[in-house]
């Protein structure tokens, strides 16, 4: 299907793969933020995941173990953040920024020796004839398992937050930590788990970059993806479903501008790259205008330290 010189099927198939790292990271960050903690260290956790996932996959020869390794490394770094912000009550913004710096450095140290190595390939899921369906086959049945996992995780997180008791507790902690504490919920423990989950997903997102997207390990290879993940959570106004839209939109704009160029259009690249961020601000404004007197979109306790005084 060609529209204005752009092959729509390729565009969609490309942006799905392109968006997977930020989709994973943003889904994780969504859960962390829902618990009331703003972790700006997504970039750091992603790149740690990228190097750990790469090293594990190369060491074991198994991409599956690689993704697991990336997730564990991301979760460990997130736990460090959680201990600092939840137990030592350090400022979340500053600690998150420091976490990014730390993660970038640490990943580079661990990554020495893995440069120029090729990881084992992560295969496509064999859908057989399904992937031959014109158009739809390329879009729906031509990806590796992590793409489907990332989609499944979005659904799982959505269902978890909406339908489960644990999800309710998580949201309660994020809306009003003091009240949740008074009701007998263990605020710190909930947040530790939410942060670790967020870190694990960021780590997997990083591993997707080093194992599938590039696939190679190089220093600084996340190149700002973690920051985009943060923007997507805001764009999504803390709704799992909208995270998917946001990730595909942010990924889509990059893919689209490159395809437009390839199709021979002279476009103002930088102005176009600005668009998703401007759109995010517009979404924020609209949401806050709608909710002016009602419920705010952001978790009410987001970014605040919690200390149980009793």
């Amino acid at each position: 299907m060609i529209l204005g010189g752009i092959d729509i099927v390729t565009l969609i198939a490309t942006l799905m793969a392109a968006s997977t790292p930020v989709l994973l990271a943003a889904t994780g960050e969504l859960v962390a933020e829902k618990s009331g903690v703003l972790n700006l260290g997504v970039e750091g956790m992603m790149i740690i995941g990228a190097v750990a996932g790469f090293a594990t996959a190369v060491g074991t020869g198994s991409p599956v173990l690689g993704f697991l390794g990336g997730a564990i490394a991301g979760a460990l770094l997130a736990t460090l953040f959680a201990v600092l912000t939840q137990v030592f009550l350090s400022n979340q913004t500053a600690t998150g920024l420091a976490l990014t710096m730390f993660g970038l450095g640490l990943s580079a140290l661990f990554g020495k020796g893995f440069e120029g190595v090729r990881p084992p390939a992560t295969g496509k899921v064999p859908f057989g004839p399904l992937s031959e369906i014109p158009g739809l086959g390329r879009i729906l049945f031509s990806h590796d398992w992590v793409v489907y996992l990332s989609l499944a995780l979005v659904v799982a997180v959505w269902a978890f937050l909406r339908f489960t008791r644990a999800g309710l507790i998580l949201r309660a902690v994020g809306e009003n930590a003091e009240a949740a504490h008074a009701l007998g919920y263990r605020v710190i423990a909930v947040r530790l788990m939410a942060l670790a989950f967020g870190g694990a997903l960021a780590g997997m997102g990083g591993a997707y970059l080093s194992l599938v997207r590039v696939p190679q390990w190089t220093e600084g290879m996340t190149a700002g993806a973690g920051w985009i993940a943060l923007a997507i959570v805001v764009f999504a106004s803390w709704r799992a479903g909208r995270v998917l839209i946001g990730a595909y939109l942010f990924g889509g704009i990059t893919a689209l501008q490159l395809q437009l160029q390839a199709a021979g259009y002279a476009i103002p690249v930088h102005l176009l790259s600005m668009a998703p961020y401007v759109l995010t601000i517009v979404v924020l404004v609209v949401l806050s205008a709608i909710h002016r007197r009602g419920v705010q979109a952001a978790p009410a306790a987001l970014g605040r330290s919690f200390h149980a005084s009793t």
Binding site: A108, T218, A223, L258
Partner: protein, 360 residues
């Protein structure tokens, strides 16, 4: 001023002064490098550091090399360069275009230290410039591309619309067209030297447009991986050999090889013959190296480009030899004419036949 600061100030002056003096015969020559990226970038900075390691080995205890990596362009570069000079380095290589003004400033402050700036155009008595004629490598890539493409569409991932990249696009197109008149070139600007995800997307977009040859002027291997996934697309290693992707999709590569130049300049420092000059070396000087041509390239094409390589090396053939017109159809070079280096170094137009528009 108390005594303590006085002593420190004089010590600082003494060191600064001593740094500029020629070394005593027994002292090793100190050679410093600053890199814009990490040495683990597997591309630009990595290649410079490979050359540093090579000369360190070559000259043994006659020289000591040091480097600072990950230096942002701007004031940090100026400080890093000053640090290198203060530490007594007598020859300092600034290996990124963006270090240009910082290098000029520091060179002014240390008239006795020799500076070398890569890819820039500002020189001084103690500041030389050097660059490589990467477009010679593109001539070889263009020939292979023209011969091997089935769709007659070549995709080119450009980093930034700067002369170095424009030269590459023009050279690749001219030589592809020479062996295959039906060929066209599609250009995508990534506006980055290194962003694997974006480079992968750029490659995917070009492949979607029907390109079965992808050339990249960015440093990551992401486009190689995309091409491999597509199956029938060929690529070329950029900056480093990227041999991990041979024989397909990577069919050959253009390697930045700074070793011969660094060797020559260090030797000149050691025997006192260093002068400020502007070097722009190509295949002939070894500064541009063509990686192994893989088995995916048909034998007759391989023979053809090997002949081209030796003509480029000997200087018998210039990749920009007239008759050539500019994109708008106006005459650029008459038959047999070749451009002077000044024109080339500031190249800001596409040649005739390229349909893409050069961002202004």
């Amino acid at each position: 001023m108390n005594r303590r600061t006085f002593l420190q100030t004089t010590a600082a002056t003494a060191v600064a002064a001593a740094a500029g003096l020629p070394a005593r015969a027994a002292d090793p020559l100190k050679v410093g490098f600053i890199y814009v990226g990490p040495i683990g970038d597997m591309g630009w900075s990595y290649q410079h550091d490979q050359a540093r390691q090579a000369i360190a080995k070559e000259f043994g205890d006659k020289i000591v090399t040091t480097y600072v990596e990950n230096v942002p362009e701007g004031p940090d570069a100026e400080r890093a360069l000053t640090q290198l000079a203060l530490e007594g380095n007598q020859l300092i290589f600034a290996t990124s275009f963006g270090f240009m003004d910082a290098t000029v400033n520091v060179a002014k402050k240390f008239p006795n230290v020799k500076f070398e700036h890569a890819t820039g155009y500002k020189r001084a008595d103690n500041l030389a410039t050097y660059d490589a004629r990467f477009y010679e490598g593109r001539a070889i890539q263009g020939t292979i591309a023209g011969r091997m493409t089935k769709s007659n569409k070549i995709g080119y991932i450009g980093s930034f619309p700067i002369p170095e990249v424009v030269q590459g696009i023009n050279s690749a197109f001219i030589h592809a067209k020479k062996v295959n008149p039906d060929v066209e070139i599609k250009v995508v600007w990534a506006y980055t030297w290194f962003d694997p995800a974006k480079e992968a997307d750029a490659a995917a977009a070009l492949i979607a447009e029907g390109c079965d040859v992808i050339m990249q002027h960015t440093d990551s291997t992401a486009p190689q991986a995309k091409a491999q996934e597509a199956g029938n697309v060929i690529t070329f290693g950029q900056a480093s050999d990227m041999a991990a992707f041979a024989p397909m999709p990577r069919v050959t590569s253009t390697i930045d090889n700074w070793e011969p130049y660094y060797k020559k300049r260090v030797a000149a420092m050691l025997d006192g013959s260093w002068t400020s000059e502007s070097t722009w070396g190509g295949i002939g000087t070894g500064m541009v190296k063509i990686g192994e041509i893989s088995s995916a390239v048909p034998a007759e094409v391989k023979a053809e480009v090997e002949a081209l390589e030796s003509k480029l090396a000997s200087g018998e053939y210039h990749p920009f030899t007239g008759p050539l017109n500019k994109q708008d159809g106006s005459a650029w070079l008459a038959a047999g004419e070749t451009p002077d280096d000044g024109t080339l170094a500031g190249m800001n137009f596409f040649v005739e036949g390229i349909k893409a528009e050069l961002p202004k």
